[in-house]
């Protein structure tokens, strides 16, 4: 456990800790491009050079192990000059096309330029010409002139996905990031290279030229693409979600997210159910809220409790599923089933992508729901959205008396429904999912529900009211009652459920 001094702060670190990590532990940030905590050390950008007393030359902090008694300076004039000069080198062949660069606003080059340079370039020569607008793969575009050759993306493909699509060709200042001729960067995690690119060399095709990042606001959230529940930031503006970004959670996704999950954000924006609908003469038509609620009350009130089925959803939050369960308790409906998207074993890997494409199977199971098995022929079904094709055909065959759906999206489910209420996505409400580890993870509301959209639990309150049953709900109370947790308990890493046995 060596003790060292960094910028006058004495700290003790574990054996083998690098000066860079030691500084980070002491809340001292050292500028860097190539270093990444999850990748091997390349030591090529030279931006993290620091001055270590008694060492003859400046040393890169990312590859220098902290030793007892070391005295490190990271903020002295000498070090600032070093960093400024390294940055100057990195910038000479950079196109400085910030106005048309998607990275603008979250670019390390821009940040460090503001921190260290703020002077005109003394480079008067012709810049090295390299390929621009390289279509690197299905999701990633490359501008080689912006690339600072830090090799993070190459190391990612070598060390994390083990797909090795990327490499540098040539050498010296002609070094160029590329794929093998004719090949693409086409792996299930390719957009992580965009995340870790410290500059605007690698950009996301779906996000390209869509939005200036400084207009975006964000909330912490959880990806709904599969049972992993990768932690994300949901970036939003103008009532729309524009992208997901990875949020670090060492116990779940580290700092990565798969492309499919990351690109699932349009679900908040597209094909939404925005108004209640009621089927009349076989045709689903828009209706008023009161008409729709009236229809639902009529369908439910004529029945005994065992003539109705409540279908929760592994696609829906812990809170909404708990609300449905509570609704059942209030109305004496005991048949609790849950719908889920089918497993996709072929898509699964040993990293982040799970065969189970549902973000909350563990949550609904915890609440005591049984996976959808039908037996609904003469019953009324009140369901959250999330039916698989198989479930739907069973539903179609058995033909329930009435199919009431709290739906977020128009699609095959709403086509079968008799009454549809417009439900909020998880981007429009506070709530939680329970992932495959039984980890309850919180998401926050990014968007205000548009039109008549409400979170499912609020609709259930209204239905209960229509049925003259007392039901007072809140997301916080639902989580507490169903899982014994408070949102505040979940923190940024989530909380593992206590085993029920």
């Amino acid at each position: 456990m060596p003790k060292l001094t960094i910028d006058g702060k004495e700290i003790e670190v574990a054996d083998g800790t690098t000066v860079f990590e030691a500084a980070r532990q002491a809340d001292i940030s050292i500028p860097h491009f190539c270093y990444h905590p999850k990748l091997s050390i390349a030591g090529n950008c030279r931006m993290c050079l620091v001055d270590i007393e008694k060492m003859p030359k400046p040393a890169i902090s990312c590859n220098t192990v902290a030793n007892e008694g070391m005295v490190v300076n990271t903020k002295t004039e000498k070090v600032k000059e070093l960093q400024k000069s390294v940055l100057e080198f990195i910038l000479i062949n950079h196109p400085i096309d910030c106005p048309v660069c998607d990275q603008a606003g979250e670019c390390k080059l821009q940040e460090f330029y503001m921190d260290y340079t703020m002077t005109d370039s003394e480079f008067h020569e012709e810049k090295v010409k390299k390929p621009k607008k390289v279509d690197l793969g299905p999701n990633v575009m490359l501008d080689d002139e912006r690339c600072i050759l830090c090799s993070r993306c190459i190391r990612f493909c070598d060390e994390i996905t083990h797909t090795s699509e990327l490499c540098f060709s040539e050498r010296g200042d002609r070094s160029t990031l590329t794929t093998f001729p004719g090949k693409q960067l086409d792996n299930k995690y390719s957009l992580n290279t965009v995340d870790i690119c410290p500059v605007g060399a690698l950009t996301s095709k779906p996000f390209r030229f869509q939005k200036r990042v400084w207009f975006l606001k964000h909330v912490p959230s959880v990806c709904s693409g599969c049972a992993t529940g990768c932690n994300i930031y949901m970036d939003y503006d103008d009532g729309k979600v524009w992208r997901y970004r990875t949020r670090d959670n060492e116990s779940v996704n580290q700092c990565w997210t798969c492309d499919a999950g990351r690109l699932s954000y349009p679900l908040h924006n597209e094909k939404r159910v925005t108004r209640p609908m009621v089927r009349k003469n076989g045709v689903l038509e828009y209706s008023t809220i009161s008409d729709a609620l009236g229809e639902i009350a009529r369908a439910l009130s004529s029945l005994g409790g065992d003539e109705a089925v409540l279908v929760g959803s592994a696609q829906e939050s812990n809170e909404n599923n708990m609300a449905l369960k509570k609704f059942g308790q209030t109305c004496q409906i005991k048949d609790l089933q849950y719908s889920a998207k089918p497993k996709d074993d072929a898509d699964a890997d040993n990293f982040l992508i799970k065969a189970d494409k549902n973000p909350n199977r563990a949550g609904v199971q915890h609440l005591g729901y049984q996976e959808f098995h039908g037996g609904i022929g003469v019953k009324v079904v009140l369901a959250l959205e999330g039916f698989s094709e198989t479930h739907l055909s069973q539903l179609r065959e058995e033909g329930p008396v009435a199919f009431i759906l709290l739906a977020t999206h128009l699609g095959p489910e709403t086509e079968l429904a008799d009454v549809v209420l417009p439900a909020a996505t998880f981007g429009e409400q506070e709530g939680s999912f329970t992932n495959f580890q039984n980890r309850v993870q919180k998401f926050e509301a990014a968007l205000i529900p548009q039109g008549m959209v409400l979170p499912a639990w609020k609709w259930l309150e209204k239905i209960a009211q229509e049925l003259k049953q007392p039901l007072q709900l809140s997301a916080e109370a639902l989580l507490q009652e169903g899982f014994g947790l408070k949102f505040a308990d979940l923190g940024t890493e989530g909380k593992i459920l206590e085993s029920k046995n």
Binding site: F123, R171, G172, S175
Partner: protein, 418 residues
């Protein structure tokens, strides 16, 4: 001491068929092995330490000391990589050592390998050296056939395999860790240090990388003893060294001389003086990377590590580039900047960008478009890239920039518009 007496490396150079095994044996070649196998490896290292032999590739690190860093108790295989990537502009000595006396090198390789407990050695030879490679391969085949290489060498119980590995055109592979990467089938990028090759080298195993000339001195040192070797040279720079003389002299070529020899004598006597009777302007004494010496300093300096350091230059690889009074120093520095920009591996930002930038400024100046501030910028580029990178390629251009600007500044100023 007369040059003619100091023949450690080149004594067979004039002999017919000196590259063949029978000729090498007839001059006492491979006699050292008997003694070698009677010694303990530590004793061999000790003898080499005593000889004062230093790495002749350019860095000048004490050879015996380098060997002693190889951990003896490591269960991993140990490797000797022979650096035959001779690429430092102005240097062409290893090529002749391999072409004319390959068995001396092989014998030296056996000595070193035995001392560090290595059983597989690689000669990394630059790709362009097709002929020296053929010579080496012939010699190796002869040595295998005669039992100097392979299993149980001369009944000693010691095994050694020797493989020639051909590079493919990259100056940087002369840097020892770039050489290791290249040998492993990677781009020739220098590695971060620590760890050092003696501990984590080729294939992650303890490795010594030694230059051809360094190893070629070993048969003499082991055969005649370290004292005999120390009779040549100076107290602090013992032994002989190959100097490759090129440029504006009457007889360019390789000269083996005892360290401490006068550069003036080398140029004026051994090399027959300046070509076409021109006056001397400057000398780069140790390969293109080392600081240039103006004529006055060059005429005063002796060729040993200390004397050259005193004059602000270095012994380097022993590539002596002689320039006469007609030489344009802006042009020669531009030439060198082109070289280093072309050869930078490109991983460290300061070197990748700095070498290219310096070259572009010089090229523009040479084209008559010098700008006020160019010299300051050049100097600043050199300051900002030297000592800031993984290897010393950036320094290898910074040193010429500093020294050219220091000694020949007015010539550079003349290229800048007033």
């Amino acid at each position: 001491m007369d040059v003619m007496e100091a023949k450690v490396l080149t004594k067979n150079f004039g002999v017919k068929d000196s590259h063949t095994l029978p000729v090498y044996e007839s001059t006492g070649g491979y006699n050292v092995l008997k003694r070698l196998f009677s010694m303990k490896p530590e004793e061999v290292i000790e003898e080499v330490k005593k000889s004062g032999l230093r790495g002749r590739g350019g860095a000048g690190f004490p050879t015996g000391l380098k060997w002693s860093f190889v951990p003896k108790d490591s269960p991993k295989p140990k490797y000797l990589c022979v650096n035959a990537d001779e690429s430092e502009p102005g240097t062409f000595k290893d090529r002749y050592l391999m072409e004319l006396d390959p068995h001396r090198l092989i014998e030296g390789i056996i000595v070193c390998s035995y001392a560090i407990d290595c059983h597989q050695s690689y000669i990394y030879i630059r790709g362009e050296f097709v002929f020296p490679k053929e010579r080496l391969e012939q010699a190796i085949a002869e040595a295998y056939a005669k039992g100097y290489l392979g299993k149980n060498i001369l009944g000693s119980g010691y095994d050694l395999e020797l493989t020639v590995h051909r590079g493919a055109g990259a100056y940087i592979c002369g840097e020892e860790t770039a050489l290791l990467n290249s040998l492993e089938g990677l781009r020739g990028m220098p590695r971060l240090k620590p760890p050092f090759p003696a501990v984590v080298g080729l294939f992650g195993c303890p490795t010594v990388v030694n230059n051809v000339e360094t190893l070629s001195a070993l048969p003499f040192i082991l055969g005649e003893g370290p004292e005999a070797y120390r009779k040549f040279g100076t107290e602090k720079s013992p032994g002989t060294k190959m100097f490759s003389v090129s440029g504006h002299v009457v007889r360019p070529g390789n000269y083996e001389i005892p360290l401490g020899y006068s550069l003036k004598k080398l140029i004026e006597e051994d090399c027959g003086g300046m070509k076409d009777g021109k006056a001397l302007k400057a000398v780069i004494p140790g390969g293109s990377s080392v600081p240039v010496l103006p004529a006055k300093d060059a005429m005063e300096v002796n060729l040993d590590y200390e004397s050259l350091a005193e004059k602000g230059s270095m012994l380097g690889s022993g590539g002596v580039i002689v320039m006469d009074e007609t030489t344009c120093m802006v042009k020669t520095l531009t030439n060198l900047a082109h070289f280093y920009a072309h050869e930078s591996c490109g991983q460290c930002s300061p070197c990748r960008e700095g070498t290219g930038w310096a070259h572009k400024i010089l090229k523009r100046m040479l084209a008559g478009e010098g700008r006020a501030g160019d010299l300051e910028t050049l100097h600043r580029i050199a300051d900002n890239m030297a000592g800031k990178t993984i290897c010393v390629l950036a320094d290898a251009l910074a040193m010429p920039i500093w020294s050219y600007l220091k000694h020949f500044r007015s010539e550079f100023e003349a290229y800048i518009e007033k």
